[in-house]
């Protein structure tokens, strides 16, 4: 049967890997909160971030953790471009056009990457990839531990940015009430670009972290995007930090339930949970309204 040690390990595993989910979800929540748009292609920006880390590692031997600023910066810029060129144009369009456009982005990014990089699975193996820290019976893989630490740092940085800086506060204001923000002289258009760039940039960081302990392939965005959605819904839209906490919770739920349930059913449960949440508590745990 399941021993307490297994359970503890599952919970720890869940927190570690959940912290990466949280990053991805935070980015999604930010975009959703500020612009009220669903970025279906979120997972694919994450994938691009992971691939940048891979190529930097493969071509220049650059450690993925050191690649974070590059990944973030590149995807941030890409996000701003996409926002300016595409998202901006459809903000006022009917819902169907919005959804169609972001879905189109999924197809373009995901399968464009596949056509360009090839459908192969890749992996980053650094000198410390196999290192494990043992605390009693708790197993802490070094890569995941580092990912967790970075994730916390990024979350903190975002928190400080959103609450302590002028720009960050302006961003929050825009998410709460666009017209009022505009009346206060906030350049809403710039805010949108910032939000989108930041959102996908953070997801890209998540991608880099994932790449240190998870295989990298063009279609990886699909699953993580779905998880991100579930997390954001769970945590409540507009609540960026609700998303972070939810990410950890979902990570733990995933790992713990794997001890008891058949794997495919695990996914079914996740989807069902998702539907149930949006049916009964669309504001999520921390949200301010759907």
């Amino acid at each position: 049967m399941v021993s307490p040690a297994d359970l503890v390990n599952a919970i720890v595993s869940g927190i570690l890997v959940g912290s990466v989910y949280s990053l991805i979800a935070m980015g999604l929540a930010l975009i959703w909160g500020v612009m009220n748009i669903i970025n279906f292609a979120h997972g694919d920006f994450m994938m691009l971030g992971a691939f940048i880390a891979y190529w930097m590692f493969r071509l220049f031997g650059l450690d993925p953790l050191l690649c974070i600023p590059l990944s973030f910066g590149t995807i941030f810029l890409l996000g701003v471009l996409v926002q300016k060129g595409i998202i901006d144009r459809i903000l006022e369009a009917p819902l169907i056009s919005q959804i169609a456009a972001t879905f189109a982005l999924v197809l373009i990014i995901r399968y464009g990457a596949e056509a360009w990089f090839g459908p192969f699975t890749r992996r980053i193996v650094t000198g410390y990839s196999g290192e494990v820290i043992n605390l009693g019976s708790i197993i802490l893989p070094l890569t995941r531990l580092l990912a967790f630490v970075v994730s916390i740092i990024v979350a903190l940085a975002l928190y400080l940015f959103l609450t302590r800086t002028y720009v960050g506060t302006a961003l929050r204001a825009t998410s709460q009430d666009r017209e009022a923000a505009q009346l206060h002289g906030i350049n809403v258009s710039a805010m949108y670009k910032l939000a989108f760039g930041l959102g996908v940039g953070i997801a890209a960081i998540g991608g880099v972290l994932l790449s240190t302990f998870y295989p990298i392939y063009p279609e990886m965005g699909a699953y993580f995007c779905l998880l991100a959605f579930i997390i954001v819904v769970f945590g409540g839209f507009g609540s960026v930090f609700g998303a972070y906490v939810s990410g950890l919770i979902i990570g733990v739920t995933q790992c713990v339930s794997a001890l008891f349930i058949m794997p495919t059913l695990k996914d079914v449960v996740a989807f069902l949970l998702f539907i149930l949440i949006i049916l009964f508590k669309p504001t999520g745990l921390f949200g301010k309204g759907g």
Partner: protein, 351 residues
């Protein structure tokens, strides 16, 4: 029935193009068969199959405003039902197809109960999640063959008609045409009736409609019923043509649900016949890119889907009313396909 037939004849008399296209569609399979061109014949079949699904889908999306990216559910249920009836209960698909439609409809209604409480993107997300649930469940459910799927055995020649097992796409094109014709007639009646009016009212402003006394839930369910039914028929078509189903083929998010959405949007969700036109444009393009480019250079796998994405992006940004809608707007297509153009009481230019 008679009145709808008369209506159809009226439409045809008014618009020679309809007659021309009808004739073309009727003789194309014969031409392909005679000239030995199974590839274009298969493309015709696929275009018809997706057209049936996209037209049905549009009742829920274009008319009622509930965007579904999970229509693979009904397609898959339709496909599996026909297969199971045929394989386990030896029921002829001639009847099986109809039962499949009803099965899909039942599933649709059951789903509608919880899902119609949701609005806009919540509903869409829920349809995607639901479709994935179906796919996963069918992957592990032994009764439906699990991930191996089900294949129908080849039957003796005297049973060919009973089981509709024929080589080549020929017969199936006609069955598809028949289903399409029936669907067009039925859908046209609906959208031009009181029901259609209410559906569009719901799309425009659900709350206002409710305030004005429209039973929003009831009409959404009606739309769902027809939408699911005909999409189920499209799935049944798949089964009788290929005689093999598995969860990856019929419950697929991209190749079924998304393709249906793409066909609808490219053609135009705000016109009655838009999705059909969309299917006929979109399928050949994708197949062409796949066969000519991707199959020649397998290194570039994914390119044809990427191209689909680009087309979808351009259309959704620049031509939200779809290609057909655009042509209509510009007056290039002057013929109103159907007298009271089930032209929506809305659409992007009215927003």
């Amino acid at each position: 029935m008679m009145s709808t037939l008369l209506e159809y004849i009226n439409m045809v008399r008014r618009s020679p193009i309809i007659l021309a296209i009808s004739i073309v569609l009727l003789i194309l399979p014969i031409i392909f068969q005679y000239l030995n061109l199974p590839f274009p014949a298969n493309m015709l079949f696929l275009a018809l199959m997706y057209a049936i699904a996209a037209m049905a889908w549009n009742l829920l999306t274009g008319y009622t405003g509930q965007l579904s990216i999970g229509h693979a559910i009904f397609f898959g249920i339709g496909a599996y039902t026909t297969m199971i009836l045929m394989l386990y209960y030896k029921i002829t698909p001639w009847i099986g197809i109809v039962i499949s439609g009803f099965m899909a409809m039942i599933v649709g209604l059951a789903l509608g109960v919880p899902l119609f409480r949701l609005r806009s993107h919540w509903f869409t997300l829920a349809t995607i999640a639901s479709a994935e649930i179906f796919r996963l469940v069918f992957m592990v459910w032994p009764y439906v063959g699990g991930s191996a799927g089900l294949q129908a055995p080849i039957v003796a020649p005297e049973e060919k008609l009973y089981y509709i097992q024929y080589a080549g796409p020929f017969i199936y094109c006609y069955i598809a045409l028949a289903i399409l014709a029936i669907e067009l007639i039925v859908l046209h009646r609906i959208v031009n009736s009181k029901i259609g009016y209410y559906l569009q009212a719901i799309r425009e402003d659900e709350n206002a409609a409710a305030v004005l006394g429209v039973n929003v839930f009831k009409y959404k369910m009606i739309a769902m019923a027809y939408s699911a039914f005909f999409t189920g028929l499209a799935g049944a078509l798949y089964t009788i043509r290929f005689r093999f189903v598995d969860p990856f083929a019929v419950f697929d998010l991209i190749t079924i649900s998304v393709y249906i959405v793409v066909a609808g949007i490219i053609g135009g969700i705000y016109s009655f016949i838009g999705p059909l036109i969309g299917a006929f444009i979109f399928l050949p393009i994708t197949e062409y890119v796949r066969v000519e480019i991707v199959a020649r250079f397998p290194r570039y796998y994914g390119l044809h889907v990427c191209v689909v994405g680009i087309i979808l992006l351009i259309i959704s940004m620049l031509l939200p009313e779809g290609i057909y809608g655009f042509l209509e707007k510009k007056g290039i297509i002057k013929h109103k396909f159907f007298e009271e153009e089930s032209r929506v009481v809305g659409g992007p230019e009215n927003e």
